[in-house]
């Protein structure tokens, strides 16, 4: 008996310890993928600063991993209960949030595609009109990676190249890989992509893939990975094989780990997205849209190639947004 | 009148001869003690009766009809039941669930959804069964794991009774029981006898065997070494027949001391 009471008391007490959140008029709901990635952390900071400057209230949620598709949908539905005026969402895939977004639209809530994870064709079919999408142009980011590579080793360079994609089926990783491949073909036809494999955004998996391909193609000249985590995994394998000077490794994101590695001269380059800027501009643009100003349907936030030279020179004005 | 008749039962496992021609007769309502040292062949003999093993040679008859060709399920259906030492109870289920396990009566739920187990009837009949055995359980709706060893034994016997057996073989039913519970299990055996059910009791506890049986059969090296009327024998003789000569006096003294 005593034990039962104790258990209830504990349950009640632990709940009471959570501060009561109040909804203000005109709250923005922000739904991220997961916080276990510095990219989303930086975006969160951008959202926070943007909201502070614009003087708006927001509440933010994320799920446990960037593969928790259904949990994210459930969280999204729950967030609607708080009746936000706008939902800024970074969907885990192109379809998982559709029912929630439709419901939001029906309730007159403005829907924003954060980081461009939604597929315009699917949105059309579902009859969902988003207010705008904002994020880096991932195809362009991939292309920038290719441009950097060609500028480093020359347009007439020859040899095998490895591409490490993101999670199978993830549109972001796909766009980056495609942007890189298309641009490379155009600029340096002598560089042949011998393998394009999904690294599942996983550092360890990318390292393994790199090892395997180095065994098959010992003369590998470059690796393009669809994010920095995987690029850093690839770097470790390349150095372990003693080919640090031979293989150029390029990542995407420009996260703090990558910046550190570039400064140390290990990772060659990272096409930095500016998640801080994406988050900040997302909130600013929502504010504009709500105030009745016009906002373009596609807000492209530029990307920036980080190399040791760029970082050391420190003259690039956009560097201040690299978090 | 003979219920069960065994003659010349032989059984070997590969090169090891376990039974060398065992003869045994059990009358209806008779309680037989089957004793013998470890490895004497007691459990092999019992599994030959229940049909888990098939005899290499010899005859087994129940009510004068050979049952050699029957499998364990069929032998159970014609009235041969065995209660193993582990009781084979589902310990988290209640009394009725155990007694009727595998043969639950069904009815229609709300009068039209078929296949619903008639739990009320199970409980009622289980309670009757326990009462018929003259036993008492604290509650019929509790998991059997909450019962004492003797009470669990009661449930196992009650379950055996629902098959309407002619012969119940019990493997060491008193081995793990507290002293006061032994008596209630012996009472249950007497109750079975009074209903005309024959019992073969396998036990190392000779005091229990002497207390409850009509006859004691001693197995030794795969043969029925002795067939003693309980009323005409005593601990010393039984022990002597089990160990077969040698220092029987000290073995008997040990038995006497050991189980008091």
């Amino acid at each position: 008996m005593k034990l039962r009471k104790l258990a209830f008391a504990l349950a009640a007490a632990s709940l009471a310890a959570i501060p009561v959140a109040h909804a203000e008029e005109g709250e923005y709901g922000v739904l991220m993928k997961t916080l276990s990635n510095p990219f989303w952390g930086a975006m969160g900071m951008g959202v926070e600063d943007g909201a502070k400057e614009a003087g708006v209230e927001y509440f933010s949620q994320a799920v446990e991993s960037d593969q928790a598709a259904e949990p994210q949908l459930n969280v999204c539905n729950t967030m609607l209960e708080r009746k936000p005026v706008a939902m800024i969402t970074a969907a885990i895939n192109s379809t998982n949030l559709l029912p929630c977004l439709k419901k939001a639209q029906d309730a007159g809530i403005k829907v924003v595609d954060l980081d461009g994870n939604l597929d315009p064709a699917i949105l059309d079919k579902e009859g969902i009109k988003i207010t705008f999408r904002i994020g880096s142009d991932n195809v362009a980011a991939g292309a920038q990676g290719a441009e950097y590579l060609v500028s480093k080793i020359g347009a007439d360079a020859e040899g095998p190249v490895l591409v490490i994609e993101g999670l199978s089926g993830n549109i972001t990783g796909e766009k980056r890989a495609r942007g890189f491949a298309d641009k490379l073909k155009e600029l340096a036809p002598g560089l042949e992509i011998v393998a394009s494999l999904p690294g599942d955004w996983d550092r360890g998996k990318a390292a393994t893939i790199t090892n395997d391909i180095l065994t098959r193609n010992p003369d590998l000249v470059a690796i393009f990975a669809a994010n920095d985590g995987m690029a850093l995994g690839a770097v470790e394998s390349v150095y372990a094989a003693g080919k640090g000077d031979q293989v150029t490794v390029i990542g995407v994101d420009g996260n703090s780990d990558a910046v550190k590695s570039i400064k140390e001269g290990r990772l060659n380059a990272s096409v930095a997205q500016l998640p801080y800027l994406v988050g900040k501009q997302a909130v600013e643009n929502v504010k504009k849209a709500i105030d009745g100003e016009s906002v373009p349907t596609d807000v492209a936030v530029p990307t920036l190639v980080l190399t040791k030279e760029v970082l050391e020179a420190g003259t690039e004005p956009m560097l201040e947004f690299v978090k | 009148m003979t219920l069960l008749h065994l003659s010349g039962i032989r059984k070997s496992f590969g090169a090891v001869d376990v039974l060398h021609g065992v003869d045994l007769d059990v009358a209806a309502g008779e309680v037989i003690g089957l004793v013998g040292d470890n490895g004497a062949g007691k459990s092999t003999l019992m599994k030959t009766i229940t049909g888990i093993y098939s005899a290499d040679a010899g005859a087994i008859e129940l009510d004068g009809r050979s049952i050699l060709h029957l499998d364990p399920g069929e032998r159970r259906r014609i009235g041969i039941e065995m209660i193993y030492q582990d009781l084979s109870l589902a310990k988290q289920q209640d009394v009725a669930s155990n007694i009727f396990l595998g043969r639950e009566p069904v009815k229609k739920m709300f009068g039209f959804i078929p296949g619903m187990v008639d739990k009320a009837r199970m409980d009622r009949e289980a309670a009757e069964m326990i009462e018929r055995l003259g036993a008492h359980l604290p509650s019929i709706n509790r998991p059997v794991s909450s019962f004492s060893g003797g009470q669990q034994q009661t449930v196992a016997i009650a379950r055996a009774l629902t098959f309407d057996p002619k012969l119940v073989i019990m493997d060491e039913p008193t081995a793990a029981l507290a002293v006061r519970e032994v008596q209630s299990v012996l009472d249950l055996i007497r109750r079975l006898k009074s209903e005309g059910i024959a019992v073969i009791l396998i036990s190392h506890r000779l005091n229990d065997v002497l207390a409850v049986t009509d006859r004691i059969v001693v197995l030794r090296h795969g043969r029925a070494e002795a067939d003693l009327r309980t009323a005409d024998t005593n601990m010393n003789e039984v022990v002597a027949r089990i160990v077969g000569g040698g220092d029987t006096a000290s073995a008997a003294a040990h038995e006497l001391g050991g189980h008091r």
């Binding site: 259904e70 | 595998g102 709706n141």
Partner: protein
Amino acid sequence: MATTATPGIWSRAQRASIDRLHIRLESFIVLLVLAAAMAVLSPFFLSVSNFLNILLATSTIGVLAIAATFVISSGGLDLSLGSVMGLSGVVGAYIAVNLGAPSPFGVGACILAGAIAGYINGQIVTRAFVPAFIVTLGMLGIARGLALVISGGRVIYGLPEYLLFLGQGRPFGIPVPVIIFVITALVAHFVLAYTRFGRHTLALGDSEGAARAAGIRVERQRRILYTISGGLAGLAGMIFMARINSGDPTAGLNYELTAITAAIIGGTNLFGGRGSILGTMIGALIMGVLQNGLNLLAVQSYYQQMAIGAVLILAVFIDQYQVRKETRA
């Protein structure tokens, strides 16, 4: 010996709830207390639409938890639930979208794909004597891989309208997944608690020897249970597929553990012999209410995982305490 203590109201209510409904009263009270606490803490909690949200969010995991309850209470384990759910959704979407088959075939394909995976689990467990943990762990990988192969790693989008109704329809304002979930739970509860099949399942989990001695065809029973488990995972896959209008090869990732957690919080014995679907539903709802409430309070998902972990341990602790008290009595 047996002193007949006069039972208090609590223990009589407890007894009755176990006898009639096969649930433990404590878990139900924990659910109510939790819901009351959430209602006090968040002004958004107490509303019909939020209540339906909770049920909707619980529907797929709830169906998987029903599957987990069947298998675990029989002394088995099915780790492939989440993967099979993902595979079923992809198979259903492939058949309905890529092959253009009529909707009933899509539904049938989901459930059949799940049932086949479960049947294979059951065959290997009972015939090859490989432990269930290993077999279903293997199936976890096989089913997930197959889902990625069939879908080419992409979501298969654009289901026919009838299929969509199963995920997005709202007759009388109630989402169809919730209706499917509740009906499945009621039928499953009836089967596990009141039929011979259900009683044999529990007895089997309790003591395989006792079940065998009672003439229950143990291997057959296990095969049926794994097939049901797979079929239910297929149903969950169908629900989720219809909800998001696509077959997602990564659907149901790690759901097997969540489903098992719901079953255990609901009072299922991890080693078999005890379990009830209503109990599991309460377990699933405890998790659903906790997550929903914490979401409404905008508490980070990290803390939610901690809270659910703590509830799991607390639930089993209370349960063990009650069981030991009973056994001592």
